[in-house]
Symmetry: C2
Subunit: 126 residues, 2 copies
């Protein structure tokens, strides 16, 4: 997967999130993917667990926006985002390790309480 | 180390880099730290190897600037930066895994050729 393909993957991720399109979102992940959101929380593994986390975000009405270029390495991408609801916003950096097939194998989201402006009502595992 | 301490660590890192202050830079790292710059390159381990990489950046006259909030998790930070020289710029995301003592244990820099604008003359390992 070249850099253009990696950037397109990230753009598809943001678009699927903002459209609350769970099927489009899950199609971006490898079947045995893991998701650690935020980093330090217990990683969630597999389609069902990952779907549950995205449903939660969709129900909160979160809209994502890229806040700078997608950084592409050989088999990973990292990108800064802002997640907004009507009540607040949260600054995040996502890192995706990619599978050889160009799917998200490992998703890690870096953020903490102090990256939250206003009231997002996010649950941050201790 | 609380979030304020983590943010201060990142600010000290940027300040040490921009002052080309190798001793101040190395003081931020654990003795057995590793550095992967960019992610996908062979990680460099230990004080001597890490010092050599920073000397290279200092000789190129690179100046770093944060491009958004430092994202703080329980034991890691991630932050977007732009690295500038007189000839070009490079968009980077750094991730530091921190030691219990609050030092940089594992440094990973996410960037690729397409994050380079102008001529930085950076060597990107294949």
């Amino acid at each position: 997967m070249d850099a253009a393909g990696k950037i397109k993957l990230v753009e598809s991720y943001v678009a699927a999130y903002n459209a609350a399109d769970l099927e489009a979102m899950l199609a971006l992940f490898a079947p045995d993917a893991s998701m650690e959101d935020p980093v330090g929380a217990e990683p969630q593994r597999g389609r069902e667990a990952i779907a549950a986390l995205y449903r939660l975000g969709f129900e909160m009405g979160i809209q994502l926006a890229l806040e700078g270029p997608v950084r592409c390495t050989a088999s990973a991408v990292a990108f800064p985002m802002c997640a907004r609801t009507a009540k607040g916003r949260l600054y995040i950096i996502d890192v995706f390790d990619l599978s050889p097939a160009g799917k998200i194998q490992r998703m890690r989201a870096y953020w903490g309480p102090e990256n939250q402006i206003g009231e997002m009502d996010l649950v941050i595992p201790s």
